[in-house]
């Protein structure tokens, strides 16, 4: 899929004109239209082994950053490679995950949800929920933040710098920095501060310094990179998204992959096999990759990413479905699928779930999509809200609005699945803080 001559904003560099980017050379039959919602069913000759740690996933990924960041990123990569083999690091991480974060999270058989999707003959798939909502902080985000904080301490850093969109990543970072006695600075866009002011209060309570930046997440991310650059010796940039220059996508995926590893073991215990279908919501792709990565080599395991479809699927309506409807571009230092207009400008995104409102998506997921290994769909705000309410009523579990997108897709998926198929849905976070949004969307007389 070729892009036109485009202008992109690179952090610390400013606007850069890019030469036309070639479509990924994957030996695939590229007769698909990226804006469609259909599964890519054409075969591919690309090896689906896990991408080696060299920064590229096919032609996605990379390090599209200013020169001054190349050295710190190389240092981070070297340290990351070391810790992967370091027994002490692993022990410290395992202990923190168990006692602080509360892992392992259960794989819960959702009987009432399963019964709900049974057809007239009483047949249907079995739905299991991976309970990342039970982690400390209420979402899977701790997995990555805790590991990176331990890494920062190993590197002798005193300050952690990060940017957050809705504040959830900011809160997780602030909490972990408090625990590890690291100074924490969180950059957040003023627009986002207005949407979730309670998260700002939480960050300050946890001892972080919150720096408002005029604009949205894009501005906050640029400012935070600038902040990091002023402080390269003692500062550590803690990325919360799977979109960024190498080694960030790989790091975030590795640290979240504990989700998939636990799922494999729990599936073996529960039914003596692997899951048949994995479903997860996709904002930048962290939680999805965390679940999927372990199973990429198991070709019979189907993987489904569900993005935010916003209000609807008409072209003029705002949404956040980067994989389904985006085109290839460079965002935050990595080549990936990206929501952009004809001139290559980043388009505005919108979703009822603010955590999905990201115009770019993980380069690794972009690669897996092109290779046909994952399927990508989107659901509308209304479908997600209905799924939120459904899970509350049926299982007494309150999913985050982001995770609700994954649950919403079950409506379309389950009727197509044979009897007894094992579906694992990643409940990436709890939705107690989304109650106001949900209630505001319900007509008053229906509450």
């Amino acid at each position: 899929m070729a892009c036109n001559y485009s202008t992109v904003s690179l952090p610390c560099v400013g606007k850069v004109a890019l030469a036309p980017i070639e479509s990924p050379t994957l030996n695939t039959n590229l007769n698909y239209i990226s804006k469609s919602n259909t599964i890519k069913t054409l075969s591919t000759t690309v090896s689906l082994e896990k991408a080696p740690i060299i920064g590229k996933f096919g032609s996605f990924g990379g390090k599209f950053v200013g020169e001054v960041l190349m050295s710190p990123l190389a240092e981070l990569e070297a340290e990351f490679n070391l810790v992967l083999l370091d027994h002490e690091f692993k022990m410290e991480l395992v202990c923190a995950m168990r006692d602080y974060v509360g892992r392992e999270t259960p794989l819960y058989y959702a009987k009432k949800l399963t019964d709900y999707y049974k057809n007239i003959n009483g047949e249907g798939p079995e739905i299991y929920i991976k309970r990342e909502d039970l982690s400390h902080g209420g979402s899977y985000k701790m997995n990555n933040v805790v590991a990176q904080a331990i890494l920062a301490k190993r590197m002798g850093r005193k300050t952690v710098i990060t940017a957050t969109s809705t504040g959830h990543h900011g809160v997780a970072t602030a909490a972990v920095c408090a625990k590890f006695s690291l100074d924490c600075t969180v950059y957040i866009g003023t627009k986002d501060m207005l949407r979730k002011p309670s998260n700002v209060q939480l960050m300050e309570l946890l001892g972080a310094q919150v720096k408002p930046v005029d604009g949205g997440f894009q501005a906050a991310a640029s400012e935070s990179t600038r902040g990091w650059m002023e402080n390269l010796q003692t500062g550590y940039y803690l990325s919360g998204t799977a979109v960024g220059p190498h080694p960030i996508p790989t790091m975030v995926r590795e640290f979240n992959s504990v989700i998939g590893k636990e799922t494999r073991r729990q599936a073996m215990e529960k039914w003596g096999g692997t899951p048949d279908v994995l479903v997860a919501c996709v904002g930048t792709g962290c939680n999805a990759l965390g679940l999927f990565h372990e199973f990429v080599g198991d070709k019979h395991v189907r993987m489904i990413g569900v993005e935010g479809g916003g209000v609807g699927s008409k072209t003029d309506e705002l949404h956040s479905a980067s994989l389904v409807r985006g085109e290839i571009g460079v965002y935050h230092g990595a080549m990936c699928y990206l929501l952009q207009d004809e001139e290559g400008q980043i388009t505005k995104t919108k979703s009822v779930a603010s955590g999905l409102e990201f115009p770019g998506v993980s380069p690794e997921l972009s690669f897996l999509k092109d290779a046909g290994r994952i399927e990508c769909y989107s659901v509308t705000d209304k479908e997600a809200l209905d799924a939120y309410k459904r899970l509350c009523r049926l299982e007494g579990i309150v999913p985050a609005l982001e995770a609700s997108h994954a649950f919403a897709y079950l409506e379309k998926l389950c009727p197509t699945l044979p009897n007894g198929v094992k579906v694992v849905v990643n409940c990436s976070g709890n939705g107690y803080s989304d109650v106001t949004t949900v209630v505001n969307s319900i007509p008053v007389n229906e509450i």
């Binding site: 168990r98 006692d99 602080y100 509360g102 999270t105 259960p106 794989l107 819960y108 058989y109 009432k112 309970r131 909502d133 039970l134 982690s135 400390h136 209420g138 602030a174 909490a175 972990v176 920095c177 408090a178 625990k179 006695s181 309670s198 209060q201 939480l202 300050e204 309570l205 946890l206 001892g207 309410k389 509350c392 009523r393 049926l394 299982e395 007494g396 579990i397 309150v398 107690y432 803080s433 109650v435 106001t436 949900v438 209630v439 509450i447």
Partner: protein
């Protein structure tokens, strides 16, 4: 260390059952004299020395907790209208049968593991431990039992889940519960959704206004929330209304009481369902340091999370147990909820226990910044443990609790519930007195996301 127990010195009380239609069916004691129990001052060191009588009492604890009539010493019992006696006996019989019901135990264990997320970790709070080290580097080690990581964010779900399973076994389709701030209501609504039971929650009208978000949550989970306008429209009135509903619908309805208060067999049942906290703690303590905890600390409102932690260790005399209540604006201000410190013996909601009452035996409206501790009574077993000297009870003001709330957030990145913050605040007084290396286990009974607005308002962070 010396203390005096007032339990043997009470003068005769005349009991009259007063059931006015518009007020709660509480049996009040008209005092025959102006006797007040002597204030008890307990200052303990590591090794507790008790008098002979209380030593014997401690030995007898196993036999008396509770006795066949549902009493803990003289506390507890079943002070309820005749209509409820059968339901309570039926409940007790069903509960006792569970001890040998392998299927039930297996099902409950599965739910606690996969739905609630047990076992909750025993977390070594390194920075908090550092904070309490004395200048010479000595101090106790603080461990937090992380009940805040449970599904719904508090310990309450342990009991709610087990009682819902029990209700299903009894063939009851309808569940009622009372709630103050909404936490127990949310836990009950949650399990009712999970088990397909009809759920009605009674909540004081004043509380409903203060906790609108929790009301929405309960409704989203499929529960019906009924406002109670009688009395002061708060928790104690909601409890009375729930009891009234139960009296009317006892054949079809199970009442999920949220704490270790209420008529027998509730204090025993709720304690047993929460006892998993203490059982896990014993196992985890053995794994972590090869021994038992030296001190257990927990906040006390009704007393369920504290009993859940303490129960396992009551027979272990070297384990010190400390319950922390809410002193609100201060013990002398009259605006507090320190039942075991300032209360007197009476009957509330079906059980004899300490409670906050005025000279006429009317319930005093309690106050605490934390809604979960804002209860004028306390579980009868706590009253018993206090009287025999097995557990100590102290109190912490709103201000001290808020400081502790902020302290744990800043030191460990864990935001505790304001209820839990009371227990955390007591560490300020406790730790300087403890020898080096003493193992303190504090029950982190809930998470504090729900309290951030309140805290910020008061703290002006």
């Amino acid at each position: 260390m010396a203390f005096s127990s007032s339990s043997s010195n009470l003068t005769a009380y005349t009991a009259t059952a007063i059931t006015k239609p518009s007020s709660s069916p509480v049996i009040r004691f008209n005092k025959a004299s102006t006797f007040r129990p002597k204030p008890i001052s307990i200052s303990c060191v590591m090794t507790q020395q008790s008098t002979n009588s209380s030593a014997a009492a401690v030995e007898d604890t196993a036999a008396l907790r509770p006795d066949p009539l549902g009493r803990f010493g003289k506390f507890g019992g079943k002070y309820v209208p005749e209509t409820l006696m059968y339901a309570l006996s039926e409940l007790e019989t069903a509960f006792r049968a569970l001890a040998t019901d392998y299927e039930f135990q297996k099902k409950l264990d599965g739910i606690l593991r996969d739905y609630v997320g047990r076992e909750s970790p025993l977390y070594f709070a390194e920075r908090l431990t550092e904070h309490y080290k004395r200048p010479n580097g000595e101090g106790p080690e603080i461990y937090l039992k992380r009940e805040d990581l449970n599904h719904t964010g508090a310990h309450k779900i342990n009991n709610a889940v087990a009682q819902a399973l029990l209700a299903k076994k009894l063939g009851k389709e309808r569940i009622i519960a009372e709630t103050g701030a909404g936490q127990h209501g949310v836990a009950t609504a949650t399990v009712c959704a999970r088990f397909g039971l009809k759920c009605i929650i009674y909540m004081g009208a004043q509380d409903m206004e203060r906790q609108a978000l929790n009301v929405f949550r309960m409704r989203l989970l499929g529960a019906e929330v009924r406002a109670v306008h009688s009395g002061t429209a708060t928790l104690k009135d909601a409890t009375s209304e729930a009891i009234r509903d139960w009296v009317t619908n006892v054949e079809t309805t199970h009442y999920i009481l949220g704490s270790v208060a209420g008529p027998h067999p509730y204090p025993m049942m709720v304690r047993e369902f929460h006892a998993v906290i203490g059982k896990e703690t014993r196992k985890q303590a053995l794994e972590k340091w090869g021994g038992k905890p030296d001190v257990l600390v927990a906040c006390v409102g009704g007393g369920s999370n504290a009993m859940g932690l303490f129960h396992e260790f009551v027979e272990d005399k070297e384990v010190r147990m400390i319950g922390v209540e809410a002193a609100g604006f201060g013990l002398d201000s009259g605006k507090h909820a320190a039942t075991l410190t300032k209360g007197e013996v009476g009957v509330l909601h079906g059980a004899m226990s300490y409670l906050l009452q005025d000279d006429d035996g009317q319930i005093i409206e309690p106050h605490s910044i934390s809604a979960g501790l804002d209860y004028p009574g306390v579980g009868p077993e706590h009253s018993f443990l206090k009287d025999i000297g097995r557990a100590e009870y102290h109190s912490i003001t709103d201000e001290e609790a808020l400081e502790a709330f902020k302290r744990l957030s800043r030191l460990e990145g864990i935001i505790p519930a304001l209820e839990t913050s009371h227990a955390l605040a007591y560490l300020e007084k406790l730790c300087p007195t403890l020898p080096n290396g003493a193992k303190v286990v504090l029950n982190c009974s809930g998470r504090g996301d729900k309290d951030v607005h309140t805290a910020i308002k008061h703290l002006q962070v």
